[in-house]
Amino acid sequence: MMKGASETKAREKLIAAKERFAAEMSRIRSKITSIRRRADERRSEKGIDDIRKKLKKV
């Protein structure tokens, strides 16, 4: 049953699934970088800065 063509197909399907997963992880890692960058930008923004100052006080 799992011989010949169907086995090759199963193999290909599985490898494609792994490739998709690898691409997804890579996309997530690049999103983390941009989240950190935007967090950096916000850190210097007035509003958040004020909250930080307030946090430091307490």
Partner: protein, 546 residues
């Protein structure tokens, strides 16, 4: 841009690992190899999320925390998908190996010899093709009381209270078969995303419990592509991104036997303008304790991402979608809509929609709660620091003192708002500064009476200020005229600014962050008041043609 993030490991991973090339590996070896590679990639991603999390937690950046939390979910869901694909194959290999010696079809007697509990477990572990096994189990259960008890025991562990009905009602089983068939299609034709993937029986049942018999009906509501086509508007949209309906870990509540779960419904689009659009909603089914201490099922929807292309902003589309969502929510029997009204989403706008405070979230995000991490509490007769409590213990402590910390959360919003207001008024040197601030203090004197709406309404008929988007500089009507006279601003720019006046309440809520909720049923704490406000707001706004 992605190349900058590429680690040396990424490059290594593209090469086949040492050992047998793919073609020569058995399927089992391949499955094993992919499992290892999956774990490596996943661990690395999770580590990156954790490092970033520690960084943003230090600076209390709630937006980044939320985004990272979202990414963690995405990574977990993606891992789950790959795991299912590998497990499916592993299952097929096992079945083939099991079946090969028995070339003859199983007779009734042979089937009866199989252990029912084992059959039930196998069925629950399958991602597809489980309905034949379910019918067999139902037939076995109907014939023999002991087997019924045994099978039910296994099913209850994964399907909760609904297990008995599934076993005894052919109508319900038929409905589930049809539901699974519909949900295995693609949404909106062959170019659309899959509606669901890897829906095992527990997930299928959990989805039915959470979103009703036709969960896909909700996709119709959030489908911007179809909405645009129906409105014969200009420009087109294409579907992007993966599965439309995803489920995370259905679990059976030990005390009540109720199935609890989190369902993420998301449609994403590429707009012909080059912008992206995304609508995401999270449906939860959980067991909570009411005021009398009795457990009850609570179903809620979290309005998560809502991003429209610029050309469709401010044309009433958001209101239209919310309006059409309400009958769907009622059909599903939801108790509550909740959301995070933050800087990006316009914390003023959600107050206008009628959202009240989401006490639970206001409490857990209050600075007082965050600050109290070092505080000692007694839990189950033991003294522990709040920061050392387990998730469940934390939830219990928070619940106990929910009102106190929710009020502290409101005070945080007031504090940020006061600062915003004071700074804006001081910057323009308004003669009304003192009187407006005094009025604000009397409004917020008793935080328990402050609602998002009282803040949003504050000073609506009074002084109006204007703010430039680029520099954030504040103007009064007079200073705007002066800037035009002195050629520091063009008359057109000034006219644009005048279109978006800020009254005091709007300034208080802008760049503020709070958690909002609307009870959908009159029996909730809000007594239907906020839902009425929402409906009134929605009746006033409707979509214009894009």
């Amino acid at each position: 841009m992605n190349t900058a993030q590429e680690s040396p490991n990424d490059r290594e991973r593209r090469e086949p690992p040492p050992g047998k090339p793919e073609g020569e590996q058995t399927l089992q070896q391949l499955a094993e190899r992919l499992r290892r590679e999956r774990d490596l990639l996943f661990d690395e991603t999770l580590k990156a999320i954790d490092t970033a999390w520690e960084e943003v937690e230090k600076i209390d950046d709630k937006i980044a925390e939320r985004e990272l939390g979202e990414l963690r979910h995405e990574a977990e869901a993606s891992k789950e998908q790959l795991t299912s694909a590998i497990d499916d194959l592993a299952f097929e290999i096992t079945v083939v190996e099991d079946e090969e010696p028995a070339a003859e079809p199983a007779t009734e007697n042979q089937e009866a010899e199989l252990e029912p509990a084992k059959l039930a477990e196998d069925m629950l572990n399958r991602k597809s093709g489980y309905f034949v096994a379910l019918e067999n189990l139902a037939a076995m259960a109907a014939k023999n009381k002991d087997q019924h008890r045994e099978i039910l025991g296994v099913l209850k562990g994964k399907l909760g209270n609904r297990a008995e009905e599934i076993l005894t009602s052919p109508e319900l089983r038929k409905e589930l078969v049809e539901m699974k068939a519909r949900l295995s299609q693609k949404w909106g034709g062959k170019d659309g995303p899959p509606i669901t993937e890897d829906l095992d029986l527990a997930k299928l049942v959990a989805l039915r419990e959470t979103m009703g018999k036709n969960p896909e009906a909700f996709l119709e509501v959030i489908d911007l592509k179809k909405r645009l086509e129906a409105a014969s508007g200009t420009g087109k949209m294409k579907y992007t991104k993966g599965t439309a309906i995803r489920l995370y870990d259905p679990e059976v509540d030990q005390k009540t036997g109720e199935l609890t779960t989190l369902v993420k419904v998301e449609l994403a689009f590429d707009d012909s303008s080059g912008d992206a659009a995304i609508i995401a909603r999270l449906f939860t089914r959980e067991v909570e304790t009411d005021k009398e201490g009795n457990p009850r099922v609570k179903k809620s929807v979290h309005h998560d991402l809502f991003k429209l292309p610029s050309r469709l902003k401010a044309n009433g589309m958001a209101a239209d979608i919310t309006r059409d969502s309400l009958p769907e929510y009622d059909r599903q029997g939801l108790n509550e809509i909740n959301l995070n009204a933050d800087i990006d989403m316009g914390s003023y706008a959600w107050a206008a929609y009628g959202y009240g405070w989401d006490k639970k979230e206001m409490a857990s995000h209050s600075m007082a709660w965050q600050k109290n991490r070092e505080m000692d509490v007694r839990v189950g007769g033991v003294t522990k620091k709040i920061k050392d409590l387990s998730k469940d213990e934390k939830a219990a402590v928070l619940k106990e003192s929910a009102d106190y910390f929710a009020n502290e959360g409101v005070i945080d919003v007031i504090d940020v708002g006061r600062k915003n207001l004071k700074e804006a008024l001081t910057e323009v040197g308004s003669a009304e500064t003192e009187s407006i601030l005094k009025e604000f203090e009397s409004l917020v004197k008793n935080p328990l009476t402050v609602t998002p709406q009282t803040l949003a309404e504050f000073g609506r008929k009074g002084l109006k200020l204007f703010q430039t988007e680029t520099t954030g500089k504040w103007y009064t009507e007079e200073s705007l005229e002066e800037a035009v006279r002195n050629k520091k601003m063009t008359a057109d720019d000034a006219a644009d600014l005048r279109k978006k006046p800020f009254h005091a309440g709007k300034i208080v809520l802008l760049s503020n962050s709070w958690y909002g909720a609307i009870d959908l049923k009159n029996t909730g704490e809000q007594g239907g008041k906020n839902r009425k406000m929402l409906e009134q707001y929605l009746s006033k706004s409707s979509a214009k043609k894009p």
